[in-house]
């Protein structure tokens, strides 16, 4: 009997993909092959399956490989699909994110320009609020990362008096408002927007910590994180590990070293329960780096060991001259310096 008026085959393939993703499966090759056979290599659904395959594969391979793979898929989707097609918009977004995450000289600037252009394009073509919101958050993240790590990039544009962070904050706040109205303030769907907003506040506070009081911004960041860093879902939902890490950073900025250490240690333990992948979208070195930072004021040996683990983890994932390796070196340097002095002395 014919299913679903001829739409049954597509519905079956999509439902199978949704189920495999929810179950944590990592190999969709058989499903992809079937979609190619039934619908063709350039159909939206076939490319949607390819997109999800790349999404999962990117969690378990070096970043440079992910950028290349997403670049290839981007070229295919640009040729095959309409600019407003959700699959094409998803691939466009994900390629830009991995480009920024690579962190080679110039990548942070390229990511900002790329996401700026994409946001303008989506607004101009009147994409749905969801996809405009995704582009808004992509740009906010790119701005935050450039503000945070631009000093390690020899060719990055110099920061313009915090203007970029103000824009990031504005974009994130708009998206928090939109998602809160749609899903509610503590919904998982609202979390990505709250996350980038908190990250913007924390980065802004770090940038001016030497000149001005920062408690207000950091406390605001903590309030944005709070609904997601507690409650029954937080330990089981890997995306919320990021809430713990941001919470630890904020607590550390406020001088609550012991509380920060406790939060960072738990995030690390949860992350390491399934090592070897970007669990919850977190690069495998970041939980170690956050823990190292929380330990640094109190115990130098532990902090050094944690920072060394962060470096080891990131070296497996990032190119040699990535800003993400430079970030770890910056934390590690003062922890090993006294030892060198002793040796030299």
């Amino acid at each position: 009997m014919e299913w679903g008026g001829g739409f049954g085959a597509r519905g079956r393939l999509r439902a199978e993909l949704i189920t495999l993703l929810a179950a944590g499966a990592t190999d969709f090759q058989a499903l992809y092959d079937e979609a190619v056979q039934r619908l063709g290599a350039r159909s939206g659904l076939t490319l949607h399956i390819a997109c999800k395959q790349q999404q999962v594969a990117s969690w378990t391979r070096p970043v440079r490989g992910s950028v290349a793979a997403w670049g290839g898929l981007l070229r295919t989707t640009n040729r095959a699909l309409d600019p407003a097609d959700p699959v094409r918009m998803e691939v466009v977004s994900r390629y830009g994110r991995w480009l920024g995450r690579r962190g080679l000289p110039g990548d942070l600037d390229i990511a900002v320009r790329y996401h700026t252009k994409e946001l303008r394009r989506r607004v101009a073509m009147r994409a749905t609020p969801h996809w405009i919101g995704v582009a808004r958050m992509d740009l906010a993240w790119a701005l935050v990362e450039r503000a945070r790590l631009g000093r390690f990039d020899p060719v990055a544009e110099p920061p313009a008096d915090g203007e970029a962070l103000l824009l990031a904050l504005e974009l994130a706040t708009d998206e928090v408002t939109r998602r809160t109205a749609e899903f509610g303030p503590d919904d998982l769907g609202t979390w990505p927007a709250c996350e980038v907003r908190a990250a913007a506040l924390i980065t802004a506070a770090c940038a001016r910590s030497a000149q001005a009081p920062i408690d207000g911004d950091v406390e605001e960041a903590l309030r944005a994180i709070e609904p997601f860093a507690a409650g029954r879902a937080v330990n089981g939902e890997s995306r919320l590990l990021r809430a713990r890490l941001l919470q630890a950073e904020a607590l550390l900025l406020l001088g609550h070293q012991q509380a920060a250490e406790q939060v960072a240690r738990l995030a690390l333990a949860l992350h390491e329960a399934r090592p070897g992948r970007w669990r919850g979208g977190i690069d495998p070195g970041r939980p170690w780096l956050t823990w190292a930072r929380t330990l640094a004021p109190a115990g130098r040996a532990d902090a050094r060991a944690a920072a060394a683990k962060a470096l080891e983890a990131r070296e497996s994932w990032f190119p040699e001259d990535s800003v993400y390796l430079a970030e770890v070196h910056e934390t590690l340097a003062p922890l090993v310096a006294p030892e060198l002095e002793v040796r030299q002395g």
Binding site: A15, A22, G24, A233, N235, Q258
Partner: protein, 264 residues
Amino acid sequence: MMAGGPELLRRTVAARWWGELIASDRRLQDTKIGYYKAFAKVASGGETRDRKVVVAAAGGAMSTFYKLFGPGGDRALLSAYAEHWGGERVATPDPTSRLGYETAVWAYWGHRQGWLSGLEQTWPHPSAVVNSLVGVVADFAAEWPHLVRATGWAPPICAIEDLCVATGGMLGWDGAAALLGQAARRGAADPKTPPEQVMDALRDDLAGLFPGRDAVAALAEGVDAVLASLGEVKSALLEAVTLAAADPPRPPVPVARPSRASAA
């Protein structure tokens, strides 16, 4: 591993009904499909309550329509449900609504096959079984928004049954219908929103269903609680030490004890 098991899902009321229907004579199948297509087409134009319009769109006769979708209709899905689940669980609406229920199941069947295929490959945790079903129903609703609206924003009845079976009865019929109804409504409201978004939005509603969650998560909560307690103890000790340093205890004052002699 899921509570009900895929083998149980292959033997649901809807699965048996579908099996009997495809084993029946071809003419009956074709006639039924003709009505399903007619209902879906009329629904997309916003008209469904008028049975004359549906019958005309199917190019059939009113008598055939009643024979198939009237009370006790030939191979009627709702009759199979009423027989198995009891009349109080399953509404017995007018013939047009009965056709709507069957049309939704017919339209959804490909999604159901895909969901079962995914489950058979992965045998996931029950929470993933339920979560994936939420996503699948949302995806179906995004593909058939007019049909979902025409059936009162209800999920396909077979998906409600699947959810009851998959949770091993932890979720009753009404609870399953309410949860999947939300998924259907959200999916149909904005068909361009990815189903993952609907799954996220309803995840909190599912969290309470599975007290025996991921072992790592449970362990983490335990560790968290212990660390929090230790933190409190540590703070109390630090406070005591600080106080003691600021105000050292005085040497004990000798207490004059009455001598044995005076006591006597």
